[in-house]
Structures are given as C-alpha cells and as structure tokens.
C-alpha cells in the first residue's frame, strides 16, 4: 500500500502540475459532455442542435463590452455560492438574496440618491438574509437548502408585493419608479465593482486568518474542531459574505442596467442567483475562476437569448446545459476525497 502511494503520488511538482491541468480539464470535460447531452435533447425536440449552437456560440461572444457588463451580477452570485461552499455550507439562496439586495438598493437609492450607499444597503440586506439561513443551520440544525429555497420564494413574492403596492410607477404600474439619476452607475462600473469584490474575497479567503479558518472548516471539520476554530461563527460569517455578495449583485442590476427599474415578475433578476451555483462550481470555487466562468456563461446566456429570437428555442437551453454540467462536476469532488484518503492529493 505504502509503495503504491509513493509511486502514484509522484513528486510535489508533478502533483502540482497535475492539479493545474485538472483545474481546467475537469470543468471543460463536464461542459463538453453537457453540450453533447443537450444536443441530443434538442434533436429529440425537433431543433437542429448545430444551428442552435452556432447561434449561441457565434453571437454570444461577439460584443465583448456587453459580455463583460452582463457578467457582473453573475460574478457576484457565483461568489455567493462559492464562499460559503469553501466553508462547508451550501448557499442555494443566492436568488432570494439577489432579490432582496436589488429591492433594498432601489429603496435606498430613492432616499440617499447615492450609488455607494445603495450598493452597501444591498450588500447588508443580502448578508442578513443569508445570515438567517446560516443561523438556523448552525444553532437550530435546520437544513440550509430547505430554508434557502423557502426564503427564495418568500423574497420573490415580497419584492413583487412592495414593487406593485408601494413604489410603483404611476405610468407603468407593473414596475417600480426608476432609480434617481444621481444614483445611476455606468455599466462599466458594474463590472469593476464585481471584479473588485471578487478580488477582495480572494484576498480574504487565501491571505487572511479568517479565510484560512473558513477553508479548514470546509476541508476537514474534525481538524477545525481540534484546532479550536469557532466553527459556528466561521460558517455564519462565510455565509454572510456570500449573501452580501449576492445582495450586491442584485443592487448592481437596477443601478447599472437600463431602464433602472424592477418589475413585478423580476424579469431582470430571475435565475441570476441560481446560475451562480453553476458559475461557482465551474469556476472551481476560486474567485478568479468565478470571474472567468461568469464571462463564459454570460456569453452562453446572451447567445441563448439570440437563439430564442432567431430559432425560437427558449433561452432555458442554457439552464439545461449548466444543469448537466453541475451534475457532471459533482463526480470528481468525491473521487478526489477518496484519493486523498489513500494519500494522493490532487
């Protein structure tokens, strides 16, 4: 056993090279399998997969500037999933945190007429909501997945209610009044804020003691217990950073994208939070990887909208692809753990 371990593991440098290769190879393989399975589904439903994919990939990435702008909220929701995930807690509530962030930022913008205060409000609101989920998990042992999904629905209806009852536009009652002009931000700034947030979270995760503790809790619960880390507090904190990030992503949408309103079906927000799960996993739960994954998936989403316009297949094609990709990405996680138990770390 010992001998096999030494041979398989190789030198430190070989292992590191293998790891870097896998970081790219795994997501790409998963995505390739997903596109193939999705092609089969499209074919069975009577669409031409080649036509759909050519529209999706050729038009999706043609406008680089728009692509970057589009990716901004997705970077935030990707971080919302991955930061708690690294600390061993699931944040499926990015969607609800996004709604609440967008709503509170909108309300704050009416009062403060300042974009920074609005974004900060969105961040805090998202952090509090995810903090509630984490609190229930940690102190009352309530499954965070169930709480998060329930809160997503509650936030959907409450946001819709507040928009149509309190802040509706008299000329278009199904949507809110627009963000005051002073608080509107340049779309480019959206991307910069998102990337900046990702970098801060990267530094926190990999260069601070709090980030180290989070990763210890996520990697090995037992080590965290024995080294005296306050696991409960670390879990809640990681969840609040994630939720805050989703709230920030929500805040960016009304502030940065025209027509600077929210409507009662949340059409600009719907699905952005859920997509964050796929983005976080594709980006290997690394903030830098998440930026790349967001840009990549945003291209798919833009392409998906063009597919609807040109071919008539709904943009949910992207959900199918990303859903299969997530399933495929679930395989290597545990495989890696099994190898780790045998002494092979990749």
């Amino acid at each position: 056993m010992r001998k096999i371990f030494l041979e398989e593991a190789g030198s430190l440098y070989q292992r590191r090279a293998l790891r870097y290769l896998l970081v790219f190879l795994e997501p790409m393989t998963a995505f390739a399998i997903a596109t193939l399975i999705n092609a089969l589904i499209l074919y069975l439903l009577g669409y031409d997969p080649l036509e759909v994919y050519s529209v999706m990939f050729l038009t999706g990435y043609s406008d680089i500037h728009y692509l970057f702008i589009k990716s901004s909220p997705y970077i935030a929701t990707g971080l919302a999933f991955s930061t708690p995930f690294l600390a061993g807690i699931f944040n499926i509530g990015g969607e609800g945190q996004l709604y609440l962030g967008a709503l509170t930022a909108l309300l704050a913008s009416y009062v403060s007429r300042n974009f920074l205060i609005s974004i900060l409000t969105g961040f805090i609101a998202g952090a509090l909501l995810s903090g509630l989920t984490a609190f229930l998990r940690v102190y009352r042992n309530v499954n965070e997945v169930v709480t998060a999904i329930m809160l997503n629905w509650i936030m959907y209806y409450i946001t819709s209610y507040i928009i149509t009852v309190y802040i509706y536009d008299p000329f278009a009652p199904y949507q809110s009044r627009p963000v005051p002009r002073e608080a509107v931000i340049n779309p480019d700034l959206m991307f910069i804020i998102s990337v900046f947030t990702a970098l801060i979270i990267y530094i926190v995760l990999f260069y601070t003691s709090i980030g180290y503790m989070m990763r210890v809790v996520g990697r090995s619960f037992r080590s965290a217990v024995y080294s005296g880390i306050n696991i409960k507090r670390i879990m809640i904190l990681s969840m609040m950073i994630g939720g805050g990030s989703a709230g920030l992503g929500g805040a960016l949408i009304p502030l940065g994208t025209s027509p600077h309103v929210l409507d009662n079906t949340m059409s600009a927000l719907y699905g952005v939070g859920f997509m964050g799960i796929g983005i976080g996993l594709l980006g290997r739960n690394n903030p830098i990887g998440i930026i790349i994954a967001s840009i990549f998936i945003s291209g798919l989403i833009i392409g998906g909208q063009n597919v609807e316009r040109i071919i008539g297949a709904p943009p949910e094609v992207v959900d199918v692809i990303i859903g299969i990709t997530i399933v495929m990405l679930a395989i290597p996680y545990i495989l890696r753990n099994i190898l780790a138990k045998r002494g092979v770390y990749i």
Binding site: M150, Y161, F274, E316, G323
Partner: protein, 307 residues
C-alpha cells in the same frame, strides 16, 4: 366556520398528496443513506411528461404510471451517481433540478409553442365528489392511496427484512456489508423506488389536480417535501401528519384571501403576493421548531466505499 374547516381539509387532502408522496419516497431513499434533493426536479419532469402522455393516449392513469416511471428513472440515475460514481449528492441534486427546470420549459415551448402554460387537459383522473350544503367536496382517490402508500412503506421499513437491510445501509454500511447485505444494491433499489414515488406525486400535480403544466409548477413543493422528511423524523407515518400540515398552509395561501374578500368585500389583487408566502414561511417556522429533536440516518449523504 365548520364548513370552512371541512372545505380546507378536503383541499388540503389534495395539496398534501404530492408533498406526502415526495416525502415518503425521500424517507425511503434517505433511510438507505442516499440524499436526493432532486425531488423538485422529479416533480417538474414527471408532471410535464405524464401530461404529454395523457394528451397523446387520453388515458390519465397511463399518465400517472408514466410519472412513476420517470421518477424511478431519475432516482436510478441519481443512485448511479451517488453509489457508483461517489458524487457529491447535494450538487447532483441541485444540477438535476436546474436541468429539469430548463428541460421542462424547453419541452413546453417546443411542443405547444407556449412559454407560460400548457393547454388544459380534457380528462383528468376520477374524483369522488360529495355535496355538502353549498359546497362540493372533492377527494382524489390518489390522495387516499398516498396515505396507504405511506403506511405500506412504514411497514416495509420497520417490519420486513428488506426494510431492515435498507436501514442498516443508512446507519452503518460497513456492518451491513459484513453481515452480507449488498449495500450498493439496497441503495440503488431505495433511491429508484423513492424517485418513483416522487414521480407519482409530480404526475398527480398535472394529471389529477391542476390539469395543465405551468412553468415551475412544483413551486418549491419538492423542498417542502424535504422539510417534511425532517419534520417526520424519517417516519412515514408522521410524514402523513406533516404533509397534512404543510398541505393546509398551501391551501390557506389561496383560501384566506378569497374568504376575506367574501367576508369583508375587500378585493385583493396585489396583496395576493403576501398571502402566497404563507406555505414557505410556515415551512421554515415548523422545521425550526421541531428540528432540534431529529435523528437522521447516521451515514446519510456519505458514499460507501468498499474496502
């Protein structure tokens, strides 16, 4: 007042059915040590496909059966990922839910060119109607059957040797294997059957109850079923009570505004959104109250690796 209670409970009997079927399926799955949070996705997929089958064959019972098969197939796939590929079961479930949402919308658009809702079914499954004063109480036979299934699965889990084997796989797979139980096989069987029950629940949504498919028709019921699993403390009999409670709140979301407006003449339009949060709020609160006393299968969610 009394007629209200009777009407609400009869409606709750309908709305509890998918939750109960999903919960019993999930309890069966989780007792074997596999967690499948893809119940929501199974609801969506089997709701749509059973509806399509019913449209084509004009036989809603064949639709229900198809729903069962779709759920069982999805459960089997999940089991393969969980048991043989040792995948992270939560991530597989999340991905499956997303895939199911996308795929159902894709199918709905490609078949009916409809983005929001499918056409309505001409023939649903048989309902028992009992006239009661001005109201007519309707009871779906499948609701009664779901309660029967819950009792049956309690019996299987607690009183048969198959149930003992399944529970052993969820508690201590190593000892189970040592005493001659095929852990992989037991987990595959439990997850497949559990998925099938959830599939039946999904088919009930369209073929028996609503009669059409709308985007995201399950509306979180799959996760309410998961909440009910914790509520019931992994006991199918308690799950009946839990499903009834969750079902009542599901009914109240629609019943309260209608009742209030008929009593006080207030017309609720936008406020409806607030009433719609009732089932979700109730779920969080109920689970919060009971969840300290739960005892889950010890090896839940951890893949079994043969030595």
């Amino acid at each position: 007042m009394i007629s209200d209670i009777i009407v609400v409970s009869s409606l709750a009997l309908t709305s509890m059915t998918p939750i109960l079927l999903g919960s019993v399926g999930e309890i069966f799955t989780e007792k074997s040590g596999v967690v499948n949070i893809g119940i929501e996705g199974i609801f969506l997929l089997s709701a749509l496909i059973s509806l399509i089958i019913t449209f084509v064959t004009e036989d809603p019972y064949l639709g229900l059966f198809t729903g069962f098969l779709i759920g069982a197939f999805a459960g089997f796939i999940h089991a393969v990922f969980a048991v043989y590929l040792k995948s992270d079961q939560i991530i597989v479930g999340v991905g499956f839910n997303m895939l199911a949402y996308g795929a159902t919308v894709l199918m709905m658009v490609s078949i009916w060119q409809a983005h929001g809702a499918s056409p309505t079914l001409p023939t649903k499954t048989y309902v028992i109607s009992i006239p009661l004063g001005r109201d007519v109480i309707t009871i779906h036979p499948l609701s009664i059957m779901a309660i029967g299934l819950a009792i049956l699965f309690w019996w299987i889990l607690e009183k048969t040797s198959l149930g003992l084997k399944i529970r052993a796989c969820g508690e201590d797979p190593k000892s189970a294997e040592a005493s001659g139980v095929n852990v992989y096989l037991m987990r595959i069987i439990a997850t497949t059957v559990g998925g099938g029950l959830a599939g039946l629940g999904g088919a009930f949504l369209t073929v028996s109850w609503i009669g059409q498919f709308t985007r995201n028709i399950s509306a979180g019921r799959g996760f309410i079923a998961l909440a009910n699993v914790a509520f019931s403390n992994w006991n199918p009999l308690t799950a009946i009570l839990g499903a009834l409670i969750f079902g009542i709140f599901d009914v109240l979301a629609l019943y309260v505004p209608i009742k209030l407006s008929s009593l006080y003449g207030i017309v609720f339009t936008t406020q409806n959104n607030l009433f719609l949060t009732i089932p979700y709020l109730a779920t969080i609160i109920i689970v919060m109250i009971i969840s300290r006393r739960i005892k889950m299968p010890r090896s839940l969610g951890t893949p079994y690796i043969k030595e």
